[in-house]
Symmetry: C2
Subunit: 463 residues, 2 copies
C-alpha cells in the first residue's frame, strides 16, 4: 500500500514536474516567436548597418574607427540600455598609403597595369622602397615547396603563394582555414629563403578582380619583406605569365607603414539582470574592419545584430533574469586587442560570464551555432533545437566560436559562434566589395533574432 501510494505520489510529482517543464517550454516558445516577430517587423539592425557603413571602412587606429566608437555608444544610449560605456584599449595603427602597384615590365602598349593584376598590401606589411622592388616571380603552393626549391632558387625573388581555397569543402570556413597560412605566415616563410617580397592569392573561392587584404605577421628574428594580396583572376593570370616567361620582371610598389599605437575603445551596452545580475551573458561582434569596402558583412553585421539582440529585450519589455551585454570589440582584424582587454578586465573585476555569443561570419541567413563548451551545456543547447528549428536554426555543434570572445575561455563559460549560410562570405571578405548592398535585410534580422533567442533561453533558464 505504502509502495503503491509511493508510486502514485512519484507519478503525481513527475506529472507536476513535466507539466511545469512543458509550460516553461511553451513560454519559451511564445517569447521566441515574439522576438522573431519584432525583429522581422520592427527590426532596427538594417538601418543601423546602413549608418555604420556610411562611416566608411573602420581600420583600428583610423579616424573612422573613432567615429564608429562614438556611433556605437550613441545608438546604445538612445536605446536606453541600463549602462553604456567605453573600455579603453591601445590598438595598432597601420596605414595603406596611396600607392600599391604590381606591374609586369613588359606591359606592352598598356599605360596602366592590367586590372587582372589588382593587388593590395596585406595588413601589417612594410612598404617597399619608393621606386619599388623589381624582380622575377616564383610560384609555390605549399610551404614545403620553399624547402624543395631552396635558397638558391628563391633568393632575390618575389615569392607568389598560389594555393587556392579548397572548393570541395561544403562550408567555406574550413577552406579558408586551409589556405590562410599563406597570407599570415607567407612573408616570414619566404624571407627565410631570401625572398624580397611575397604576393599571395586572395582568400576567396570566387574568380574576380578584387584583391582581399587581411592580417600578416612578421617574426622579429627574420628579415621583414613586403606582402600583398592579388585578386584570384590576377593569380590565375600571373601564373600564366610566369609560365610563359619565368624570368619576366615585375615591380611591386607599396607605400604602407605602421604608425604608433592609438588609443581606442570597446563599446559596451548592458541590461542588468533582474534576479541574477552577477551572471553575465555577452553577445558581440567587432567594430573595426579592414580599410577596403565598408566592413558590412565583416563585421558591421555582427555589431548591429548584437545591439539589436539587446534592443529586442527592451522593445518586448522582457526583463532578463541575468545580465546581458552587447560588446562591440575593437581591433579583431589586426591584433585582437579589444577581445583580450575585455577578458583581462572581466577577470580583474571577478565578473562571472556564463555565455558569450559572437557573430563574425557575415550577416547571412543563420543556420546554426558552433559551441565551445562543456558536454552538459551542449546537450542543453541541442535540446533547445526543438524550439529553434522552426526559425531555421538546424544545428548546435562542438566547434570554434569567435576570435573576440575566445580570450574569455575558462572551462565554465560557454562560447558560441553564430553560423550563417557561408557560401558568399569569402566573396566579399576583406575586399572592397564588402559593402552594405551585399547584406539582405531579413537575413541580417534573422541572425540577430537567433542570438537574442539563445540569450533569452540561457538567461531565463541558466545551464
Amino acid at each position: 500500500m505504502c509502495q503503491v501510494w509511493g508510486m502514485k505520489s512519484t507519478s503525481i510529482l513527475l506529472f507536476i514536474f513535466l507539466s511545469l517543464k512543458v509550460s516553461a517550454q511553451n513560454n519559451d516558445s511564445a517569447t521566441i516567436r515574439k522576438i522573431f516577430t519584432e525583429a522581422l517587423t520592427a527590426g532596427k539592425s538594417y538601418d543601423q548597418l546602413r549608418q555604420l557603413c556610411n562611416i566608411g571602412p573602420r581600420l583600428s587606429g583610423s579616424e573612422n574607427a573613432a567615429k564608429a566608437v562614438e556611433w556605437g555608444k550613441k545608438v546604445m544610449e538612445e536605446y536606453d540600455f541600463d549602462t553604456v560605456y567605453l573600455q579603453e584599449v591601445m590598438v595598432p595603427h597601420w596605414v595603406r598609403g596611396d600607392k600599391e602597384i604590381f606591374v609586369p615590365e613588359k606591359a606592352g602598349s598598356r599605360s596602366t597595369p592590367p586590372k587582372y593584376l589588382n593587388i593590395c598590401a596585406l595588413g601589417g606589411s612594410i612598404g617597399t622602397p619608393e621606386k619599388g622592388i623589381r624582380s622575377s616571380v616564383i610560384e609555390v603552393k605549399q610551404f614545403e615547396d620553399l624547402e624543395k626549391l631552396g635558397r638558391k632558387q628563391i633568393e632575390g625573388k618575389i615569392v607568389f603563394f598560389n594555393r587556392p581555397m579548397d572548393p570541395t569543402h561544403i562550408t567555406t570556413f574550413p577552406a579558408y582555414g586551409g589556405a590562410v597560412n599563406q597570407r599570415g605566415s607567407g612573408a616570414v616563410m619566404a624571407a627565410k629563403y631570401g625572398a624580397v617580397a611575397v604576393i599571395v592569392r586572395s582568400m576567396s573561392l570566387a574568380l574576380d578582380d578584387f584583391p582581399h587584404t587581411g592580417a600578416m605577421r612578421y617574426d622579429d628574428s627574420i628579415t621583414k619583406i613586403p606582402a600583398a594580396a592579388i585578386s584570384t583572376n590576377g593569380a590565375e593570370y600571373l601564373s600564366e605569365l610566369i609560365k610563359l616567361d619565368p624570368e619576366a620582371k615585375f615591380t611591386l610598389t607599396l607605400s604602407c607603414q605602421t604608425l604608433p599605437d592609438v588609443k581606442s575603445y570597446n563599446v559596451i551596452g548592458e541590461i542588468k539582470g533582474s534576479q541574477n545580475p552577477g551572471e553575465i551573458l555577452v553577445v558581440g561582434g567587432h567594430l573595426d574592419s579592414w580599410d577596403l569596402g565598408e566592413g558590412a558583412h565583416d563585421d558591421g553585421a555582427g555589431c548591429v545584430q548584437s545591439i539589436e539582440a539587446l534592443r529586442l529585450f527592451k522593445a518586448l519589455k522582457i526583463k532578463p533574469v541575468r545580465t546581458l551585454r552587447a560588446v562591440l570589440f575593437m581591433n579583431e582584424e589586426n591584433g585582437l586587442r579589444g577581445g583580450k582587454k575585455y577578458a583581462e578586465l572581466a577577470k580583474a573585476n571577478k565578473e562571472k560570464h556564463i555565455l558569450a555569443i559572437e557573430s563574425d561570419a557575415g550577416g547571412f541567413a543563420p543556420r546554426g551555432f558552433d559551441a565551445d563548451c562543456t558536454d552538459e551545456q551542449l546537450k542543453k543547447l541541442k535540446d533547445y533545437l526543438q524550439i529553434l528549428t522552426p526559425y531555421g536554426i538546424h544545428f548546435m555543434e562542438k566547434g570554434g566560436s569567435g576570435a573576440d570572445i575566445g580570450p574569455l575561455k575558462d572551462g565554465t563559460v560557454a562560447l558560441l559562434g553564430l553560423r550563417p549560410e557561408s557560401q558568399r562570405y569569402f566573396d566579399y571578405h576583406h575586399a572592397a566589395s564588402d559593402t552594405f548592398d551585399k547584406v539582405n535585410k531579413r537575413e541580417l534580422e534573422l541572425g540577430g533574432a537567433a542570438m537574442a533567442a539563445i540569450l533569452y533561453l540561457i538567461s531565463e533558464n541558466g545551464w
Copy 2:
C-alpha cells in the same frame, strides 16, 4: 539447444544483413561525396546559366523561348545523354507591348512619372485604350474590403490592392502564398464591383523600385479589366498620395495583349537505367521565364541544375540502375502547359515514374526538400538525412513539390521540391532584377549536387 542455435543463426544472419547494409551505406556516402566534389570542382551549371541568361527573358511563345529550347537540346546532346528529345506543346503568347505608364494627374513640374510609381502589366492582362484609363484610386487590403466598400464606392475606379507579404513568416514562400491572390484574382474580384482597372502591390518583402509581374487570371463571366503591379516603394507612395487626396486622378496606360497560341516544347534528356530502365526518375525546372530580367533564379537555375544532375552521373561514370530524365518544362509561368503535357504523355505511354524532383525556388544554397509522397517514402528520405546533413541538407518534410511535376501525382510517385535558402528569392522574383549576377556559383552547384544525390540514392536503392 536448437533454440540457442536458432538464436545464433539469427544473430549471424542479422550480422550479415547489418554488415551489408552498413557497406551499402558506405558506398552511398562515398558516391555522394564524389558527386559534390565533381559539382564543386568541375561543375558546368554556372557557365550554362550564364549562356541561358544571355539569351534574355524567355516568356512562353517568344523568340527567346524558342532559342532556349534549342539551347537546352544542344547542351544535353553535347553531354551525350542517351536520348535527347523535344515534346511538343502549344503555349499562350502574351506580349507586354511598349507602353506601361501609371501617372498622377498632378505630377507637378515633373515631365516624367516619378520612378516610385514604376509599374508593369501583370501577365495575361488586357491592355487599356490607347489614351489610357483615367480615374481615382481606391485602396483595399483584403477581398472582403471590396464587399464592405460596395459597388457604389468602387464603380469606375482603379482598385489598388496593397496587402504586403507577411514578414513574420520565417521562410518567404508562405508569405508569398498569403498575398498572391491579389495578383491572381484581384482583377476578377474588383471587376465584380465595377472597377475599371487594378494596381497590385508587388509580391516582394523588400522595399525597392522594381515592379514584379506574374500571372493573373480572368473569368469569362466577369468583365475583363487591365491589371498592373506596382513596386513596393511605389505602393507605399501611392497609398500616401491617395490618403492626401482621395479624389486625385491617375492615368493607367498598358499596351499588352494576348496573341494566338504558339507551338513550343519541353526539352528532355535521358540516361537509360542499367537494370530497371522501366522505372523513371525525373529532375526538372522550367525553361520559360517572365519577360523582365533574365529568369536567372526563376528558373534558369532549376534548368541548369537539372541538366547538371544528369551530367554528374556521366562525368563520374555512374550507370544508374533506373532511368534518369532531366526535363526542362515549358510554360510554368502562365499556363503550366508543359507540365500537364508531360504528365499526359507519361500516362498515355504507360510510363512508370517513381520520383520527380523540381528545383523552382531559386539557385540559392540548398537547405532541404519538401516531399509530396507516402509516409513510407518520407521515412526512407528522412533516413537518408544522415548521409545528406554534411552537405547542408537538414530537412525532409511533407509539403508541396513543384508546379511542373504536380500533374504527375498518382499516389505512387514521390514528388520532391528542392528548398534553398528563401530570404532573397522574392527580392528578384518576376522582376527586372532577376539576373545572372544574383546567382552565386557554389550555391547553384550545391543545389544541383543535392538533387543528383537524391536521384542516386533512389535510383540505386529504390523505395
